[in-house]
């Protein structure tokens, strides 16, 4: 491809350099603490198909993103510089070309036999010199380098994430046991209350009560009343541990994750400890996004500098989104400032998740996040305590 159209390679190289420049310029407008990291990562990952993730699980562990990004930057943040080898090679090319020119001009006067081939052919092939110099200046990587760097970063991030999850689990277990003691107290209390109420009802009046809707239920009302009161009580009492966890950062989101994973089954399974254990890290799904790549944009999956031209549109939108997210974090409930940093995905490595395409729309992403944070705030511990009898 590059031999076929040197113009395309030249175009891609200039685009890459211009992109780096625009990312840098965009980063100057923000004053986020990790803007340099983000800039470096964005610049050095131009050769990969990038996407902002909207994966629930991924967003649940934002600090992983930081870790991941740091790893990536460490591995990929270097430019080729002029070494003796490259300098000599380029100097050789230039010297050879100069000799060709000299030969062409000398043979001009005294030979009539043939057009000296070297001059014209050499001129036509001189684009390769420019391209090589461009490769030295613009940060470019081979696909092997990229893959290994991303694999490394994934491994590191997963390791760190599992550690974090262990901490979260411990915290959740502690909160759970603390809440359980309270619940048993309430349980006894409410049972007594219900008995009392029933006796009162039987004694005084069969007409339903005024304020509470729960009293309308006649038979088996004990259980219902018990449950509802218990629920309200747990909600009230759980504010405290929830708040403390929110202060620590990811606790809330981890629990929300548990909500997602066990929302369907929480009604039937009664043992909350399993719920806590189900905050697991699904390694396979960690760095996968939507399968947006069809035959329409297959060029974007090619990890060569030559194909940077095909990624430009998506890349520019992504850069804008990332920095906008850095600028204006969602003012939701308990979400830290480093929300929705970039999640960069090498789809070649793990393309196993075919799901419908989500367009890169910042408003939709923000809406999504807000919705998520709402869920966080309302149903923090619901899977843990909804069915404690």
């Amino acid at each position: 491809m590059s031999v076929g159209s040197p113009a395309l390679v030249a175009y891609s190289l200039v685009l890459t350099a211009l992109n780096a420049r625009s990312v840098y310029r965009r980063a100057q407008q923000t004053d986020h603490e990790s803007k340099n990291d983000v800039t470096r990562a964005l610049i050095s990952l131009q050769q990969t198909p990038l996407e902002l993730t909207k994966n629930d699980r991924l967003l649940a562990f934002i600090p992983i993103n930081d870790q991941w990004r740091r790893e990536i930057v460490e591995r990929l943040n270097r430019r080729y510089s002029w070494t003796v080898a490259t300098g000599t090679a380029i100097a050789w090319v230039i010297v050879a070309f100069v000799f060709t020119l000299i030969d062409s001009f000398i043979s001009l006067g005294n030979s009539a036999e043939d057009i000296p081939a070297g001059h014209a052919v050499g001129t036509v092939w001189m684009w390769s010199l420019c391209v090589v110099i461009g490769w030295l200046w613009v940060p470019t990587f081979t696909s092997g380098e990229l893959k290994s760097a991303i694999r490394h970063a994934n491994r590191k991030a997963v390791k760190k994430a599992t550690k974090k999850i262990g901490q979260i689990k411990q915290k959740a277990n502690k909160a759970y046991s603390a809440a359980m003691t309270k619940i048993t107290v309430v349980n006894r209390f409410s049972r007594r209350l219900a008995v009392l109420r029933r006796s009162k009802k039987n004694a005084v009046d069969p007409i339903p009560g005024t304020g509470d809707g729960n009293e309308e239920v006649e038979t088996g009302s004990t259980q219902v009343v018990e449950q509802t009161e218990l629920k309200t009580y747990t909600n009230a009492s759980l504010q405290e541990p929830a708040e403390s966890q929110r202060g620590h950062g990811r606790g809330v989101r981890a629990n929300q994750n548990a909500t997602n994973s066990t929302a369907g089954s929480s009604r039937s399974t009664a043992i909350p400890s399993t719920t806590v254990q189900s905050i697991h890290l699904d390694m396979d799904r960690l760095f996968i996004t939507k399968d947006t790549y069809s035959s329409l944009n297959r060029d974007e999956l090619r990890l060569s500098v030559t194909f940077n031209y095909s990624r430009i549109m998506r890349y520019l939108v992504l850069v804008d989104d990332v920095f906008r997210a850095l600028d204006r974090p969602v003012s939701g409930v308990g979400l830290p400032r480093t929300l929705l940093i970039l999640e960069v995905v090498l789809l070649i490595l793990n393309r196993r998740d075919p799901s419908p395409r989500l367009l890169l729309n910042p408003q939709r992403a923000l809406f999504f996040l807000r919705e998520r944070s709402d869920r966080c705030s309302t149903r923090q511990f619901s899977p843990l305590f909804s069915n404690v009898d």
């Binding site: 076929g4 340099n36 001009f105 009539a112 200046w137």
Partner: protein, 174 residues
Amino acid sequence: MLNAAIFALVLQCGLTAAATVIVIFTPTIGVGCRSLGYIIYGGIAILILFLTIISTILVRISETRVGPSTTSSIKGFTALIAITFRRLCLFLAFANAMGMIVLSCLQFSRTLDTCYCNSSAIGNGINSYVIIVFNGRALRTYRIWATVLAVACIGIYVAFLWLITALPSEIYNL
């Protein structure tokens, strides 16, 4: 995008034009096998560049356009064009690369040193002739200018690259 395209064009056009000028103004003056080969090569390279740019834009259009069902046909149409362009470009690039390599080899191996090619019969037609003895003084200016053009284009491109990559210095210092 525009800047990048312009500088890519400068590089490609400059080099191809220089090579073509060198060959054309070598007697006999006119479009011959070699110069036609260069012209085709440069032309196809530029065509590939334009087609890919158009294809990129069309891909973006067909990806981001979300609307009622009336636009779905447009979306499908743009997608179809984009895919066609992409495949066409790949094919053209392959053919072009092969052609250029073959042309260079032929030129160096003097296979093109035939009566037909030396007389620039493609351009001159019936009036073509072969030079037996010639005095090449007058050619020098053309060659010098062509070389200057090529070197200038390379210089412009490399200088531009150097300028735009030089800026973010603290980004690269960990």
